[in-house]
């Protein structure tokens, strides 16, 4: 809803790729206000948005899925973004909606980001098929780790610059801009998810299979992404236990894109998307190896979804994307709820929202209770962790 970013893209190296009639901008932005984005701009531009969506959909032989990419903390991405999400559900109910949401870190420079995030969360819970939450703080940590590795000068740790997940190599970026490194990580996430749809492999994993396998109950569709490797070492004399190490890394905290600890919470399901020259036996061996240390919910002890794509990402011989539906997301949500309550208790900045037409106090309380029930659902599943659940008694046949 402001022109700066879009204009920059249109002047950048990818300008040819965007259809100028498919752009929608305004001038004044949303002032970091979810209500402005969702309600004001949402109703003002509703027709235009639906129109442009239809146009894009018509070009497709076969529309399988929508990718929505936005942040939760601001006004436009968060507010207008979730409005678009509900429009997508209305206009294209059968098409899968996968949302990549950037969650604000605790030290966010937008004061009202907790409000915006919680208001948006409710929309995501109700209208998205699956959500890939990404936390800025995790991206910062990963970037720091890579920079540290590449400057540490330790022998055997020289990184091939173009292979770092932040480098955007294979892309067309010129001078580096702030957030570029972090954004590249998210770009790599999306590349890996779509790799099976773009390249061949011995066990294809399509986008609609992700939602099918990883979402056991309608609201619980928040998937923790983790990516490995973050970089490849330039020094070829480094021994390659790399393949198995890659699998172990995928389950370590440092490779996750939100700050949570899945290993100590309960897995509802997990997907592994492997790219490169990896065979099914390597996959099986590593699953067997890692399974004992990962707690899975009782009715999904074998809850693994796997995909093998033959083509590795640029600069690597293989890579792994893990998407986990894990109860650890509830910690992230609980922290978000706390930040929200801190502001809401004092009614800080509330008037900015309530002044917007269509916005009422009930929106806040409903969004809060939607989040609380989501957290409660995760809690209930968590409570079953470690408990030995007896097998459900089978049907008996009269003889």
């Amino acid at each position: 809803m402001e022109e700066g970013v879009v204009n920059e893209i249109l002047q950048g190296p990818l300008r040819e790729m965007f259809d100028s009639t498919q752009l929608l901008t305004d001038v004044s932005g949303s002032g970091n206000n979810w209500a402005v984005g969702h309600m004001t701009y949402g109703s003002a531009y509703r027709e235009q948005i639906v129109d442009k969506l239809r146009k894009a959909a018509e070009h497709c032989d076969c529309l399988q899925c929508f990718f929505l990419i936005h942040s939760m903390g601001g006004g436009t991405g968060s507010g207008l973004g979730t409005k678009v999400l509900s429009l997508l559900e209305e206009e294209f109910p059968e098409v899968c909606r996968i949302v990549t949401s950037i969650y604000p870190s605790a030290e966010d420079d937008v004061v009202t980001s907790p409000y915006n995030s919680i208001l948006a969360m409710r929309e995501l819970t109700e209208h998205a098929d699956c959500v890939l939450p990404v936390e800025n703080q995790s991206l910062v940590d990963i970037v720091k780790k890579i920079k540290h590795m590449s400057h540490s000068g330790k022998p055997g740790t020289v990184i091939r610059r173009e292979s770092a997940i932040i480098s955007g190599q294979g892309g067309l970026i010129g001078a580096e801009k702030p957030f570029d490194a972090m954004n590249n990580i998210v770009a790599n996430l999306l590349l890996n998810i779509t790799s099976s749809a773009r390249f061949e492999g011995s066990l294809n994993m399509d986008l609609n299979e992700i939602a099918m396998n990883l979402v056991p109950f309608p609201g619980l569709h928040y998937l923790v992404p983790s990516l490995t490797p973050l970089y490849t070492l330039a020094d070829v004399s480094v021994p390659s236990r790399r393949l198995d190490q890659m699998f172990s890394d995928a389950f370590s905290k440092e490779h996750q894109l939100i700050r949570a600890d899945p290993k100590h919470s309960l897995y509802l399901a997990c997907a592994l998307m492997v790219r490169g020259n990896v065979q099914v036996s390597d996959l099986r061996r590593n699953i067997e190896r890692l399974k004992p240390s990962l707690p899975f919910v009782s009715w999904n002890q074998e809850g693994w979804k796997t995909g093998l794509c033959s083509v590795p990402p640029v600069g690597h011989s293989h890579s792994l994307l893990a998407l986990a539906n894990n109860t650890c997301v509830k910690t992230t949500f609980m922290e978000l709820r706390e930040r929200f309550t801190k502001l809401y208790r004092k009614k800080a900045h509330l008037h900015h929202y309530l002044h917007v037409e269509g916005m009422e106090q009930s929106h806040f309380s409903e969004a809060l209770s939607s989040l609380s029930s989501l957290i409660e659902e995760y809690q209930q599943l968590d409570a079953t962790k470690g408990r030995l659940m007896p097998d459900a008694p089978r049907l008996r046949i009269a003889r």
Binding site: D61, C62, L63, Q64, E200, S202, L203, N204, D206, N208, E209, A211, M212, N213, L214, V215, P216, F217, P218, A269, Q279, V280, S281, D282, R284, I287, E288, K291, S298, W299, N300, E302, G303, W304, K305, T306, L308, D391, A392, R394, L395, R396, I397, R399
Partner: protein, 443 residues
């Protein structure tokens, strides 16, 4: 008489291509004119340029695998698929049986029936239809079941054999147990016989017998193609009167599936040795047959770790012993022997009444097919197609896993949104519990 192969989904298309390829390679090897003619007639037809074209239809809900299979076949230079014998869409079935069965199947029914009809009409005489698919995913399982239903309607008098690949026990697909249960329950009403390969078993053959270090799906598929090929390559049967049988599917079905409650067939094929060791290995029929018999009795799926302690129970013992223990009772068996000196083999060990349930006499329960021509470079090979309790344990664990998941209603919303209700699930569970119970009681 010809077999029309219908390849469904990624697995069906990958395995099907390898099956046809290995059948042809074997048929064209050396001086075996009669077998070659019979095999080619069974699986291929010749186009106007004399090229061999497979009697096959390829179906998938996304295009990549079909394209791969078609180009692999063409690259062999020996055969190809028909140019228009395939049908694909773009969006896939999302590992969702309901999506395959309720949405894609009906949407494309006419096209698929037309493709099959064209292949069937090209056959002088149709021996039957072979549908190849996996049970874990969405297309092979869901669309495959729907297509089998259509084929049953259109060709009520033809034999339909479904070849199913069962997934690894530990997840390839999280909802694989649901998809498998729904598929098996429906196929049981539609199919004449269900021939099963389990990925876990084949994987072990690759690692322990073939010594493959990094096992790929290509390796797994190659073993399945070999075993299935050894069943489907022409052979001399008791009914075929000195010529290669012209009714392979019919003979298989009538030999093995005498009761509608018992349709699950397992396949064991020995020997399985790495190509490199072939020159140094020698095989004797008595040894091969002894091993295969013990594999059957002890329910060992491969020629390693056979439990020689397991013995068939005498008739008097059996009625007292309610739990069958580790002994595998058979309803019927077909033994297929290929290679040198095949006419002098002694197969009486398989006619022991102790191996079988009491319904059929051993003479009725056991059949032998022979071919003097070695298969796939093995000087002597023996394959056993068995209707026995061999698949009871994997079936039971599949149903058990699905039932546990169903008890918490996990993932059910994904199926109900495409038209499969909880009732449908319960019906499928009941049918399979019935099948499990029947096989358990076999004695």
């Amino acid at each position: 008489m010809s077999v029309v192969t219908v390849q469904l989904g990624q697995c069906g298309n990958q395995v099907g291509q390898q099956l046809l390829h290995s059948l042809l390679c074997d048929a064209q090897e050396g001086q075996r004119k009669e077998l070659c003619t019979a095999s080619r007639e069974r699986f291929f037809h010749q186009d106007t340029h004399g090229e061999l074209v497979a009697r096959a239809v390829l179906i998938d809900m996304e295009p990549k695998v079909i394209n791969q299979s078609i180009s692999r076949a063409a690259r062999s230079g020996m055969w190809r698929y028909g140019e228009t014998s395939h049908f694909s869409q773009k969006q896939g079935s999302g590992n969702n049986w309901a999506n395959g069965f309720c949405v894609h199947g009906p949407a494309h029914r006419e096209v698929v029936e037309e493709l099959v009809r064209r292949e069937v009409e090209r056959c002088d005489r149709l021996s039957g239809l072979l549908a190849m698919m996996s049970v874990a995913g969405g297309t092979g399982s869901g669309v495959g079941t729907y297509v089998t239903q259509c084929l049953r309607d259109v060709y009520p008098k033809s034999f339909i054999l479904n070849h199913l690949t069962w997934p690894y026990g530990t997840g390839e697909v999280i909802v694989q147990n649901y998809n498998s249960v729904l598929t098996l329950a429906h196929l049981y009403q539609l199919s004449d016989a269900i021939l099963v390969h389990e990925n876990d078993t084949v994987h072990q053959i690759c690692s322990q017998l073939l010594n493959i270090k990094h096992i790929s799906f290509a390796d797994v598929n190659s073993v399945i193609a070999h075993q299935l090929g050894s069943v489907l390559q022409p052979a001399l049967t008791a009914d075929s009167q000195g010529a290669y049988s012209r009714n392979p599917l019919g003979e298989l079905v009538s030999a093995l599936c005498c009761h509608p409650e018992f349709k699950l067939l397992s396949v064991s094929s020995i020997p399985q040795v790495p190509l490199a060791s072939m020159a140094y290995s020698s095989f004797s029929w008595p040894s091969l047959l002894k091993h295969l018999r013990q594999m059957l009795i002890s329910n060992t799926k491969m020629e390693e770790g056979i439990d020689w302690q397991v013995r068939p129970l005498a008739a008097a013992e059996r009625s007292r012993n309610l739990t069958a223990g580790s002994f595998n009772t058979s309803l019927a068996n077909v033994l297929i022997l290929r290679g040198k000196d095949v006419y002098s083999t002694e197969t009486a060990g398989f006619e022991d009444p102790a191996l079988y349930s009491s319904w059929l006499s051993p003479q009725e329960a056991f059949s032998v097919w022979k071919s003097p021509v070695p298969f796939n470079k093995y000087e002597k090979s023996a394959t056993l197609v068995s209707n026995s309790q061999a698949l009871l344990r994997p079936l039971d664990s599949m149903v058990g896993g699905a039932w546990n998941m169903f008890a918490s209603r996990a993932y059910i919303h994904q199926y109900t949104k495409f038209g499969i209700s909880e009732e449908d699930f319960l019906d499928s569970f009941s049918s399979l519990e019935q099948v499990i119970s029947s096989y358990k009681e076999l004695r």
